[in-house]
């Protein structure tokens, strides 16, 4: 239910990293999600498509990777971004 907040943080992290690395156009963001993480991928993608407008991630695809090696709650990590 808090996918809006998670989405906002993903974009904050990605945009900051893009500025620091001189990436103007983010094309991909990879999110690793642990097994007990209470994030719904479909909802997160829905929020992402709306929230990415007018950011450096406007053309980005969000890839959500379930990672069964990560246990415990609140385990969602922005693994990497890519772009030009």
């Amino acid at each position: 239910m808090h996918e809006g907040a998670v989405c906002r943080e993903i974009l904050l992290i990605a945009e900051r990293a893009a500025r620091q690395n001189d990436i103007r156009d983010i094309t991909g963001i990879t999110l690793a999600v642990g097994t007990q993480s209470c994030v719904n991928p479909a909802q997160l993608q829905f929020f992402f498509e709306i929230a990415k407008q007018n950011t450096r991630a406007e053309h980005a695809v969000l890839t959500i990777e379930p990672d069964d090696t990560i246990t415990g709650p609140r385990q969602e990590f922005v693994r990497a971004i890519e772009g030009d």
Binding site: M1, H2, G4, A5, V6, E9, I10, L12, I13, A17, A18, N21, D22, I23, T27, L31, C38, T71, G72, P73, R74, Q75, E76, F77, V78, R79, A80, I81, E82, G83, D84
Partner: protein
């Protein structure tokens, strides 16, 4: 095409603000409690009972989607209160708490209670800088809540089982409930309460003002 490895937690920003909030509280010698639970579990009624004895030293941060009704209730008890309206968001985050603290006069305050948005899911995921978490569950909600919503029980220090005066009218099994809570969190303290009658409130007050260690906030299970 550039690729940048990050491995940054989406909770990192909130957690660092929560830590800043905690440092500010510790500098003032103030304890903060995060009151969590379902809508209607009796969080605000419990708070009113707590304030009945000592409204001068307790300040309240009220979280709700809409209205300042709970802030009015708390102020009627004589306590300072700040209302946070999330306008639809299901939980409070640390930056809102930091802003609320700036609105409170902390002189003479020993305790701050956050009356969180009524929600068993999202509220548990966000650290607010609190020293302890108090989950409020009522017997009318049914026995299954620890099994269905484990995180709130895993991360709460006190579990208040409220509306015990209604127990004879429900099929709630307090023994099974305690077993389920302890399976998730062996350190949890379960308190039987009836907030409307005031039963069990003194025990909670003693816990809140007791002599426990001010341990670092952390997610021990991660």
């Amino acid at each position: 095409m550039k690729q940048v490895e990050l491995n940054e937690s989406v909770y990192a920003r909130n957690d660092s603000i929560a830590q800043r909030v905690r440092q500010q509280l510790d500098a003032h010698g103030i304890r903060m409690f995060n009151l969590l639970g379902t809508p209607g579990s009796g969080k605000t009624t419990l708070l009113e009972q707590l304030l009945r004895e000592d409204a001068q030293h307790i300040a309240v941060i009220e979280g709700d989607l809409f209205t300042d009704e709970d802030t009015q209730r708390v102020r009627a008890c004589g306590a300072q209160a700040v209302q946070l309206n999330t306008q639809g968001a299901c939980h409070l985050e640390a930056d809102a708490i930091e802003a609320a603290l700036a609105q409170l006069n902390l002189d003479g305050i020993t305790t701050i209670v956050i009356d969180n948005v009524g929600n068993l899911v999202c509220t548990a995921e966000f650290a607010l800088g609190e020293h302890k978490r108090i989950a409020v569950i009522s017997v009318t909600e049914g026995n299954d809540k620890p099994r269905k919503y484990p995180l709130i029980f895993q991360t709460s220090d006190f579990v208040v089982l409220n509306k015990m005066d209604l127990l004879p009218y429900t099929d709630f099994d307090p023994v099974r409930f305690a077993q389920d809570v302890y399976a998730l969190n062996p350190h949890a303290e379960i308190l039987h309460c009836s907030a409307v009658r005031g039963d069990g409130v003194q025990k909670l007050r003693e816990y809140m003002t007791g002599n426990w260690e001010q341990e670092e906030w952390q997610w021990s299970e991660s």
